[in-house]
């Protein structure tokens, strides 16, 4: 489609255009806001206000409703994330098995607090409530990979592998 309305300026960033296209695929589907936001977030990385506006316009849902949903659910983020997402489990099993020590150590190594991204943009570091590896607690996940029975002393080694991969890619 070539004709663009005012809400779609020709100069719009291509990633935002992509967001619009993704959101469009959910138009008219009953109750699909959350599913649309998932898809948009996985394409754009996070859900800043401008992205929320596009979702709101495309699905014809008021912006406050969209924002209300985004802020309600912990999976949605309005801040950009690092290249890799570290989630340290503090579910009951991991808490009982010393998950807090893993958190403390990571804060120390990464030099940033839970919920933040490292200065070099490599890692965002969050707490998870059970990642389903309770039998092998404490567990953490980095992106989709689960590390079980984590000993705080092994963390530098684990992180090093990501830096190494980054160098290899560069």
């Amino acid at each position: 489609m070539s004709e663009c309305s005012t809400s779609c300026p020709a100069a719009e960033d291509p990633t935002l255009q992509r967001v619009r296209r993704i959101a469009e695929s959910y138009r008219g589907k009953e109750g699909s806001l959350i599913q649309a936001l998932h898809a948009v977030q996985s394409a754009y990385g996070y859900l800043p206000l401008e992205v929320q506006k596009i979702v709101s316009e495309t699905l014809d849902i008021p912006l406050p409703t969209v924002s209300g949903v985004v802020t309600f659910y912990s999976f949605f983020s309005t801040e950009p994330h690092g290249k890799h997402n570290i989630r340290i489990c503090l579910g009951t099993a991991c808490y009982v098995r010393g998950g807090v020590r893993v958190v403390d150590r990571l804060e120390e190594i990464l030099g940033c607090k839970v919920g933040h991204t490292t200065a070099d943009g490599m890692f965002t570091f969050e707490i998870a409530r059970c990642i389903g590896a309770c039998g092998l607690a404490p567990a953490i996940s980095i992106d989709d990979k689960v590390y079980a029975n984590v000993n705080p002393d092994e963390i530098p080694q684990i992180l090093a592998s990501y830096y190494k991969a980054e160098e290899a890619n560069a």
């Binding site: 949903v69 999976f75 403390d104 309770c134």
Partner: protein, 621 residues
């Protein structure tokens, strides 16, 4: 998946698939099952599987051995695990090297490699056969009947074990009323926590007038520390699909939703594939098995909110809204999803249904005690030796789960408590090891059956801190809709934080109790109504520990950081300097070969020194 998929139009077609599968697999001498549950995945079972596939090609075993990647076999602590059938030999802690040996010595040579089998630490002997291992011996697998036993990706294998025969029996023999009558007679109760009789629920769904109705599967599994539902979805997705199909048929719904938490991508993937396959086989879609009944399923993914496990909040979330609970009545069966009559059931509940229909109410009810029939799946975790997924008949002794099945406490430490029901449940003590695990007995103790989380704690766990942990959880997850839950849990948390940081007062204990009881009575939904349970049970059963915190300002378990100090025993310290070098905050000083000292002002009690000291010289006081 480009699979050949015949459309099945009748019971005879279903039977033909079953016969063909059994005939096809009969020709194999062995089936090797490699566990692909989450635990084993994180223990790198994929490497074991690929080494196995390679070796069996090299050794030309394609026509003699069948390889299956299954869902969770259960004993996650010893993963990756592998079972060789038909003997039922259980190999644990597998590696690519070990599996190559198993191919050569066992599959080809016919000799079990005893060293790779389960080691019974009590007797020092290996136990090769799965059925003899205490962890498996006392389990009864009904909901988990296929989990860890079949290829989760094979609808044919599911059918070969009487899968979808439950639906066929429902449409051909029982009829809609017959299904809920059978369930009522079986005594099946909801496994999501509340324990409501499933047959009664389905009957009310059937009786409710309405053009459009829905059946919803609750796969939100919010208890942080539990993964039973995940194991079922990943290991036997068709059992959940068939359960929903039966529910839809009974109440008259042609559409089902599965609400899965976003943290479970593998479960979503396997379930989506199973739904696709079921459609291709005509087991979802129009006129299923020629019955005239049509049904389909859609998956909805959650977005990280514990309260969405509560059924009315879940409905809001499926509708794409904020997951806030709705006022009841009207109940979901009257006015649920998109305003239509809706029946909501938990994953495990639904997985039980097909086999109850096939084998009958009487068979199911022969397991269990009193008003708690059948079995319950638990995720056994924490300070337990054999953590994993277990399914036990209701009425089993708590102590048997912990000590016989679970093998007791890790590292031989004393048992302190077991927590069931997650943030809505309670902590029981060593005095409760004889309690029967069933809905009524657990409630009478102030704990609950819950959805199946069972966390075992050793003496190094502080019960006040545990109560604080759960309060922090519910306070964080409270949706904020009602005041008792929003404000009340916050106040409770503040008091608990005060106590664990050494600033508590004796009067805090009564204050906690009073406020907790008020929240229980006045909160709007189950989250708030049950949120005080971990606090109330620990207050009741571990009062001395609370008193130690508020009166003596000590933490008997040495957990609460503000009440402990680390000291080096000068007698034991050899001055090796290791601790001083590793201390992340440089709180340890001393010269070589001289006893070191810890500056407790600087010390963050991180425990690095303790875990690294080779002489056991560092103590907590």
């Amino acid at each position: 998946m480009a699979k050949y998929a015949p459309r099945l139009n009748s019971l005879e077609d279903l039977q033909a698939i079953k016969d063909a599968f059994l005939a096809e697999t009969e020709k194999y001498r062995h089936t090797v099952i490699v566990c692909g549950g989450t635990g084993c995945v994180s223990a790198h079972c994929a490497d074991v599987l690929s080494a196995l596939k390679k070796q069996y090609s090299v050794r030309g075993l394609r026509d003699e051995v069948r390889i299956v990647e299954s869902g969770c076999i259960g004993l996650c602590a010893l993963g990756p695990t592998v079972v060789v059938e038909p003997e039922g030999v259980f190999y644990c802690n597998m590696t690519p090297e070990r599996i190559v040996q198993v191919v050569d010595k066992h599959l080809i040579g016919g000799n079990i490699i005893l060293d790779y089998t389960f080691l019974d630490e009590k007797t020092g002997e290996h136990i090769p056969y799965m059925k003899d291992i205490p962890f498996f011996h006392d389990q009864i697998k009904i909901a988990l009947r296929n989990c860890g036993a079949i290829d989760y990706d094979s609808i044919e294998e599911y059918i070969s074990r009487d899968g979808y025969f439950g639906f066929a029996k429902a449409v051909n023999e029982l009829g809609r009323t017959g299904v809920y009558e059978e369930l009522k007679a079986s005594g099946l109760r909801g496994r999501g926590g509340a324990g409501f009789p499933t047959g009664v629920k389905w009957e009310s769904g059937y009786n409710q007038p309405g053009e459009q109705k829905y059946i919803v599967c609750n796969a939100d599994e919010g208890d942080p520390g539990a993964y039973m539902d995940r194991s079922i979805l990943e290991g036997d997705p068709h059992s959940v699909i068939e359960g929903m199909l039966l529910g839809g048929y009974t109440i008259g719904a042609n559409k089902g939703y599965v609400y899965v938490r976003a943290e479970y991508p593998i479960a979503v993937e396997r379930l989506s594939e199973a739904i696709e396959t079921a459609r291709a086989f005509g087991l979802l879609g129009e006129n299923i098995l020629g019955s005239g009944f049509s049904f389909d399923i859609e998956i909805r993914i959650g977005a990280g909110a514990f309260v969405c496990g509560e059924e009315t909040a879940l409905l809001n979330s499926i509708e794409g809204k904020r997951g806030e609970p709705r006022q009841k009545p009207p109940f979901p069966f009257q006015k649920g999803l998109f305003g239509c009559p809706t029946i909501i059931n938990n994953v495990e509940t639904l997985a039980n249904v097909p086999v109850i229909i096939v084998r009958g109410a009487e068979w199911f009810a022969s397991y269990g005690v009193g008003r708690s029939k059948g079995t319950k799946v638990f995720a056994l975790a924490g300070d337990i030796k054999y953590s994993g997924i277990v399914e036990v008949p209701m009425g089993i002794r708590m102590g048997d789960i912990v000590f016989t099945i679970g093998g007791g406490i890790k590292d031989g430490k004393p048992f302190k408590a077991v927590q069931t029901g997650g943030p809505s449940g309670g902590c029981l003590t060593k005095d409760h090891l004889d309690v029967s695990v069933d809905y009524e007995s657990l409630s009478a103790m102030g704990a609950i059956m819950g959805s199946g989380g069972m966390i075992v704690m050793d003496e190094n766990t502080c019960m006040v801190d545990t109560a604080r942990y759960f309060m922090d959880f519910v306070q964080d997850e409270s949706c904020g809709h009602c005041v008792p839950c929003r404000v009340g849990t916050k106040r409770l948390l503040e008091i608990l934080q005060r106590i664990v940081s050494g600033r508590g007062e004796v009067s805090d204990l009564d204050r906690l109790e009073k406020m907790a009881l008020t929240i229980k009575d006045t909160a709007m939904c189950g989250l708030g109504q049950t949120a005080p349970n971990p606090l109330l049970t620990t207050l009741k059963y571990f009062r001395d520990e609370y008193e130690a915190h508020v009166i003596h300002k000590t933490c008997p378990a040495h957990v609460c950081k503000d009440m402990i100090t680390y000291v080096i025993d000068p007698e034991k310290c050899r001055g090796c300097t290791l601790c001083a070098r590793q201390c992340p905050v440089s709180a340890i000083t001393g010269s070589v070969k001289e006893p070191h000292v810890i500056d407790s002002e600087k010390c963050t009690r991180c425990g690095t020194c303790i875990s690294n000291c080779k002489f056991g010289a560092i103590m907590i006081k």
